[in-house]
C-alpha cells in the first residue's frame, strides 16, 4: 500500500512535533517527581504529624490534686467526688424518652435538658454531655436503681477540691479554678490541659506545679465523621504531690476562733527557724465555692466586702506599724551611741521641732526615763529625742537590717514588700520633699513607714533569737502520692545581724516590761510563770483628729489599727506571735490577749505551761482522773 503519507518529508515533520510534545511531558514528569520528593522526603515528618493529628482525638483525664496537710500530717485540704449525670448520645436508645424519664426522676424541666443535648447534637460518639451536676447521694441511688432504663446515660465522677475546715485558712490554702485561655498560653502552665483546674491563689497557686499531678489521657482514633475506630487507649492520671505545711492545726484553729468576727491577721511562728505555726486572715471565705463553681451572688458578696476576705492580710496588707516599730528606733539609738539602755533622758508630754509640736500619746508623761521605761510605756517623746539626732537613712538602715521594706520571701504569692522611707525613695515614689518632722513620725512607725504582719514577726523573731533573721516558710516537705519525698524544705537564714548582746538583752528586757512591768501597755497579756515579751502598737490610719479618741463614737473605718507582736519565753524563745486588729474597738492591749491565748496553747502543747488550777476545775473533761490535777 503506497500513499502520500509515506512520503518522508511529511512524516519527519510530524515526528518532530511528537518529539516536541514528548519533551514537554518529560519536563512535567520531572516537576512531579520533584514535588513528591518535597512532600514525602523533605517535609514528610511535618505531614506525618498532620495526618496523625487528623486521626487521633485526645481526651484528658484530670489528675486528682495533691493534699495539703498540717505539720502533724492531718489532712486540711483534699478532694471529694462530685457526681454528674452524663450521656453519650450515640449509645442512647430513644433519647427523647430517656430524657423525659430523667426529667421526671430529678424534677428537672424536660425542655431544659433537651436544649443541653440539642446544643451538642453533633458531638462525636466517644464524647459525652453533662446533664446534671453535683448530684446528691439520694439522687445518685435513684439513678443507679433506674440505670437499666437509661442506656447511654452514666454517672461521671469528678474530683473537686474539698476544704475540710471551711473558712479557716482560706487565704493560705487559696482556691482553685478552671484554667483560662490566657493562662494556657503561659510557659509555666505548659503541662496544663484545657479544662484543667489550677491553683489561683495561696498555696494552691504557689505549689501548683507539685499539687497538679500528671493528667491521664484517653486516646481514640477517629475517622473523618468522628466515629471511633479501633481501640481506646487509656493512660491513667497520676495524683499530685502532697504538701506538708508547718501549720500547727490546734493553733491555727484557735487563732481563727479568736479572730473570727474581727478584721485582721494573726501569725504564729517558731522564731528559731521561721516555721509558720499558724496564719490567719479575717474575715475569710469558703474556697469550696470556687471549686464547685461560684454563683454570681456569692462572688459579688465576696468582691464587694470592704473587709477584703480574699486578701491574705498577714502578707499582703502593708500598713503603719505604730509603736511596734520602736525596736528599730531603740536599735538605731543604741548602735549610734545616742542612748544607752540605762541612761535616763527627759521625756515630756510634747516634743518641739521648730514650730511643730509632736505629742506623746500619754499627756501625763513628764519625767526622765531610761530605755526600758520608754519601751514599757511606749513613750513617744523619748524616741523623738533620738530621731531628732538621726538621719532618716540611719533609721532605714536598721529597719532594712531587720527585714523591713523587702519581701520576706515566704512561700506564698503576692507578698507586699512594705515601705521604709528614705529621702530619695519618698521623692521618687511620692514626689515629696523630706521634712525632719517625718523622721520623728517614722521612728514611732507612722508617716511613710509601712510594714506587713509577716515582716514584723520576722523582725521580732530576730530580736528574740539574738540576731538571726530567718525567712518565714509554711511548707516543710513535699511528698509524692506513693510516699517518696520530692522536696524537703529547710529553714533559710537570711542574715545574721551583728548586734551587741547587751543591746539585744536591753531591748528584750524593755519588751518584757511591756507585758510584765507595772505600767506596761500590754499587762493583760501576762502569762503566769512565762516571760512573755512583746510590744503593742496603735497605728492611726487617718489624719483626721478626734478631740477625744473613743472607738465607740468613731465610724469603724476611721478607727485605728491595733498591733501586738511578741515572743515567749524571753531567754529561749519558742514562739513568736503577731496580731493585727484592723479598725479595732479596743487597742493593742486587747490584741495582746489574743496573742497570750495562742502562746499559752502552744507552750501547753510543748509541756512548758499548764492552765491554772481554777481553770482546770472548770474543765468538763471527766475522762481524766482528778488526782492528776491535785498534784499542782
Amino acid at each position: 500500500m503506497s500513499s502520500a503519507f509515506n512520503e518522508n518529508g511529511i512524516f519527519n515533520n510530524q515526528k518532530k512535533r511528537l518529539n516536541f510534545i514528548a519533551l514537554i511531558f518529560s519536563v512535567i514528569c520531572l516537576l512531579i517527581i520533584a514535588r513528591i520528593f518535597f512532600l514525602q522526603v523533605i517535609n514528610g515528618n511535618y505531614y506525618y504529624y498532620l495526618a496523625k493529628n487528623n486521626a487521633t482525638r485526645i481526651m484528658y483525664l484530670p489528675a486528682p490534686r495533691g493534699y495539703i496537710l498540717s505539720n502533724a500530717g492531718k489532712i486540711m485540704v483534699d478532694n471529694e467526688s462530685s457526681f454528674n449525670i452524663a450521656v453519650t448520645i450515640a449509645h442512647a436508645k430513644s433519647l427523647k424518652r430517656e430524657l423525659h424519664l430523667i426529667a421526671s426522676m430529678f424534677h428537672k424541666k424536660y425542655s431544659r435538658l433537651y436544649k443541653i443535648v440539642k446544643k451538642e447534637e453533633f458531638i462525636p460518639d466517644y464524647d459525652s454531655i453533662v446533664l446534671i451536676r453535683n448530684l446528691s447521694i439520694k439522687n445518685l441511688s435513684i439513678f443507679e436503681v433506674n440505670k437499666l432504663y437509661l442506656p447511654g446515660f452514666f454517672i461521671e465522677k469528678i474530683p473537686i477540691r474539698h476544704y475540710k475546715y471551711g473558712d479557716m485558712g482560706a487565704q493560705i490554702f487559696g482556691y482553685v479554678g478552671l484554667v483560662s485561655s490566657e493562662q494556657l498560653k503561659e510557659k509555666k502552665y505548659s503541662y496544663v490541659n484545657p479544662s484543667d483546674i489550677i491553683g489561683e491563689t495561696g498555696l494552691e497557686y504557689y505549689y501548683q506545679k507539685y499539687l497538679h499531678g500528671k493528667d491521664g489521657e484517653k486516646r481514640v482514633v477517629v475517622n473523618s465523621f468522628g466515629k471511633t475506630e479501633g481501640k481506646v487507649v487509656v493512660e491513667q492520671p497520676k495524683m499530685g504531690d502532697n504538701i506538708y505545711t508547718t501549720l500547727n492545726l490546734t493553733l491555727e484553729k484557735l487563732a481563727y476562733k479568736l479572730m473570727k468576727n474581727k478584721e485582721g491577721a494573726v501569725i504564729a511562728m517558731n522564731p528559731n527557724n521561721g516555721k509558720i505555726l499558724a496564719m490567719v486572715s479575717t474575715p475569710s471565705f469558703n474556697p469550696v465555692y470556687f471549686s464547685k463553681g461560684i454563683s454570681t451572688k456569692e462572688w459579688d458578696k465576696i468582691i464587694n466586702n470592704d473587709e477584703h476576705p480574699l486578701q491574705n492580710k498577714a502578707i499582703q496588707n502593708s500598713m503603719a506599724p505604730g509603736s511596734t516599730f520602736k525596736i528599730v528606733g531603740a536599735l538605731a539609738g543604741l548602735e549610734t551611741h545616742l542612748i544607752t539602755p540605762d541612761k535616763k533622758i527627759f521625756a515630756g508630754p510634747t516634743f518641739k521641732l521648730g514650730d511643730a509640736v509632736f505629742y506623746n500619746w500619754n499627756p501625763n508623761q513628764d519625767s526622765k526615763i531610761n530605755l526600758y521605761t520608754a519601751l514599757e510605756e511606749s513613750v513617744d517623746t523619748y524616741f523623738y529625742s533620738i530621731a531628732v539626732r538621726l538621719h532618716i537613712s540611719q533609721i532605714a538602715y536598721y529597719a532594712h537590717l531587720l527585714g523591713f521594706g523587702k519581701k520576706t520571701g515566704v512561700d506564698l504569692p503576692a507578698e507586699n514588700p512594705g515601705f521604709i522611707p528614705t529621702r530619695k525613695l519618698v521623692y521618687k515614689v511620692y514626689h515629696r520633699r523630706w521634712y525632719k518632722g517625718s523622721t520623728l513620725s517614722s521612728i514611732i512607725g507612722q508617716s511613710y513607714v509601712s510594714v506587713t504582719p509577716i515582716q514584723l514577726i520576722e523582725a521580732y523573731s530576730a530580736i528574740a533569737n539574738g540576731g538571726y533573721l530567718y525567712r518565714p516558710y509554711i511548707v516543710s516537705r513535699i511528698v509524692s502520692s506513693s510516699g517518696r519525698i520530692v522536696k524537703q524544705i529547710k529553714s533559710r537564714l537570711i542574715r545574721r545581724i551583728k548586734l551587741k548582746r547587751s543591746y539585744v538583752k536591753a531591748i528584750k528586757k524593755g519588751l518584757y516590761e511591756v507585758v510584765n512591768g507595772k505600767n506596761g501597755t500590754a499587762t493583760n497579756g501576762r502569762i503566769r510563770g512565762i516571760s512573755f515579751c512583746g510590744k503593742t502598737g496603735t497605728a492611726q490610719i487617718i489624719s483626721k483628729t478626734y478631740s477625744i479618741y473613743d472607738a465607740k463614737y468613731i465610724p469603724r473605718k476611721d478607727r485605728d489599727n491595733a498591733w501586738f507582736v511578741g515572743f515567749a519565753p524571753m531567754n529561749h524563745p519558742k514562739i513568736a506571735v503577731v496580731i493585727l486588729e484592723m479598725h479595732a474597738k479596743f487597742l493593742g492591749a486587747h490584741a495582746a490577749v489574743v496573742a497570750k491565748k495562742i502562746v499559752e496553747k502552744y507552750l501547753e502543747q510543748k509541756g512548758m505551761w499548764k492552765p491554772s488550777l481554777k481553770k482546770r476545775k472548770n474543765n468538763k473533761n471527766k475522762n481524766l482522773p482528778s488526782f492528776i490535777y491535785t498534784s499542782f
Binding site: 500500500m1 503519507f5 512535533r17 486521626a55
Partner: protein, 368 residues
C-alpha cells in the same frame, strides 16, 4: 499475515507493565478500605476485579480487529457515543450533582469517557482522508466541530475533567496532523479571548476549585480541604510509607474521592516515596513503550490513532498525579488501571489495546 506473526509482534513489555500496574491497583484499592469494611464481596475491590475481566475481554476484542477497520467505522462509533452523551444529558442519573452515567443493570457506564476513544478514531479517519501536508484554519472546520461538540456537551454534564481531556487529546492530534504555525497562533489567540467567556459559564464549584488551587490554605475546610488532605496523605507517607492498610488518611476517610481522583494519595501514604517512584517508573515504561510504537509506525492513520491513544493514557496519568500533589487544580481525571471505575478502565485498556494493535500489525502494511 498469519496469527503467529501477530503474536510474535505483540508488545509483551507493554502488556505486562499494564498487568503489574493493575495488580498494584487492586492491592492499593484493598488498602484504601475503611477498617470496619469487612464485607469484601460488596466492596469496590470485587467490582474492580470484575471490571478488569470485562476490560481484558474488550482489549482482546480490539486487538483482534485490524485498526484500519476501526478507523473505517470511526464515524459510526463517534455518532453512537455522541447520541449516548445526549441521552445522558437528557435523562441522566443524578449522582454527585452530575449526570454522567447510563445504568446497565449491575453496572453503569459513562459515555463521556468512551468519547475519548471515539474522538481519536474519528479524527484519525478525517485526517487520513484529508491527505494534506499542512492545514490552514479553514481546512480545520470539520475537525474543530468533531472536537468542540462533545467537549461542550460533556462540560454541560458537568464533567470538566473528561471534557478537558477530550479537548487536549483532540488538539494534540490536530497539532500532529499538521496545523500551520500561523493558524495555530491564531487559534491560541482565539482561545485566550474565549477563556473569560468560558469562566463565566463554569459552575460555582468548578470556579472555586480553580480559585482554591491558587490559594489552598485559604479554605482548608471548604473545597480546599481536598487538596490539603491529599497533600497531607502524600507527605505523611514519607520515604518508606505507613504500610499496607495503614494509610490513615484514606482508611479513616479524611481523604475525599480516595478510590478515584485521589487514588494516588492513598497509594503514596501506604508505600511512601519509594513506592511512588516505582509506580511512576511503571507508568514511564508504559508511556515510553507506547511512544516507541507510535514513533516507529510508518503510516499516518496508525501514527495519529496511536498518538491519540498514547496521550489519553499520558494525560490521565500526569493530570491525576499532578492534581493529587497540588500541582494542578482538582479535576476528575482517573489514574489509568488504578482508579476505581469501570468505564475509565475500559477507556484506558482500549487505548493500550490500540497501541498493541498497531504494534502487532506494523509489518503487515510495511510489506503490503
Amino acid at each position: 499475515m498469519k496469527l503467529s506473526d501477530n503474536i510474535k509482534n505483540f508488545d509483551f513489555i507493554l502488556f505486562f507493565t499494564v498487568i503489574i500496574i493493575a495488580f498494584l491497583g487492586i492491592v492499593n484499592l484493598l488498602g484504601s478500605l475503611s477498617l470496619n469494611h469487612h464485607e469484601l464481596l460488596n466492596s469496590y475491590v470485587m467490582k474492580q476485579i470484575i471490571w478488569f475481566g470485562i476490560s481484558f475481554f474488550v482489549m482482546f476484542a480490539i486487538i483482534s480487529i485490524d485498526y484500519n477497520t476501526l478507523i473505517d467505522i470511526a464515524y459510526y462509533i463517534y455518532g453512537i457515543v455522541l447520541i449516548l452523551i445526549i441521552i445522558v444529558l437528557i435523562k441522566g442519573k443524578i449522582s454527585h450533582g452530575a449526570s454522567r452515567w447510563i445504568s446497565l443493570g449491575l453496572f453503569t457506564i459513562q459515555p463521556s469517557e468512551l468519547m475519548k476513544i471515539a474522538l481519536i478514531l474519528a479524527l484519525a479517519k478525517y485526517f487520513t482522508n484529508a491527505k494534506k501536508k499542512y492545514y490552514k484554519l479553514t481546512d480545520l472546520m470539520i475537525p474543530f466541530l468533531i472536537i468542540i461538540i462533545p467537549v461542550l456537551l460533556i462540560a454541560k454534564e458537568p464533567d470538566l475533567g473528561t471534557s478537558l481531556i477530550v479537548f487536549f487529546v483532540g488538539c494534540i492530534i490536530v497539532y500532529l496532523a499538521g496545523i500551520k504555525r500561523v493558524s495555530m497562533a491564531i487559534a491560541l489567540f482565539f482561545v485566550m479571548v474565549v477563556l473569560p467567556v468560558i469562566w463565566g459559564h463554569l459552575k460555582t464549584y468548578q470556579k472555586s476549585r480553580i480559585l482554591i488551587f491558587l490559594h489552598p490554605a485559604k479554605a482548608s475546610l471548604g473545597a480546599g480541604y481536598n487538596i490539603i488532605q491529599s497533600e497531607i496523605a502524600v507527605g505523611a507517607g514519607r520515604i518508606l510509607g505507613d504500610g499496607f492498610r495503614r494509610g490513615s488518611q484514606s482508611v479513616l476517610n479524611f481523604l475525599p474521592a480516595k478510590q478515584t481522583d485521589f487514588i494516588f494519595s492513598t497509594y503514596a501514604q501506604q508505600f511512601g516515596f519509594i513506592g511512588s517512584i516505582i509506580l511512576i517508573g511503571l507508568y514511564f515504561i508504559l508511556i515510553i513503550r507506547g511512544f516507541k510504537i507510535v514513533y516507529n509506525t510508518k503510516r499516518l492513520p496508525a501514527f495519529l490513532l496511536g498518538s491519540g491513544a498514547l496521550f489519553i493514557i499520558t494525560l490521565h496519568t500526569v493530570i491525576n498525579i499532578a492534581m493529587a500533589i497540588g500541582l494542578l487544580p482538582v479535576v476528575g481525571v482517573p489514574l489509568p488501571f488504578f482508579s476505581y471505575g469501570g468505564t475509565s478502565l475500559i477507556v484506558d485498556i482500549s487505548a493500550v489495546a490500540i497501541l498493541l494493535n498497531i504494534s502487532m500489525r506494523r509489518y503487515k502494511y510495511q510489506s503490503g
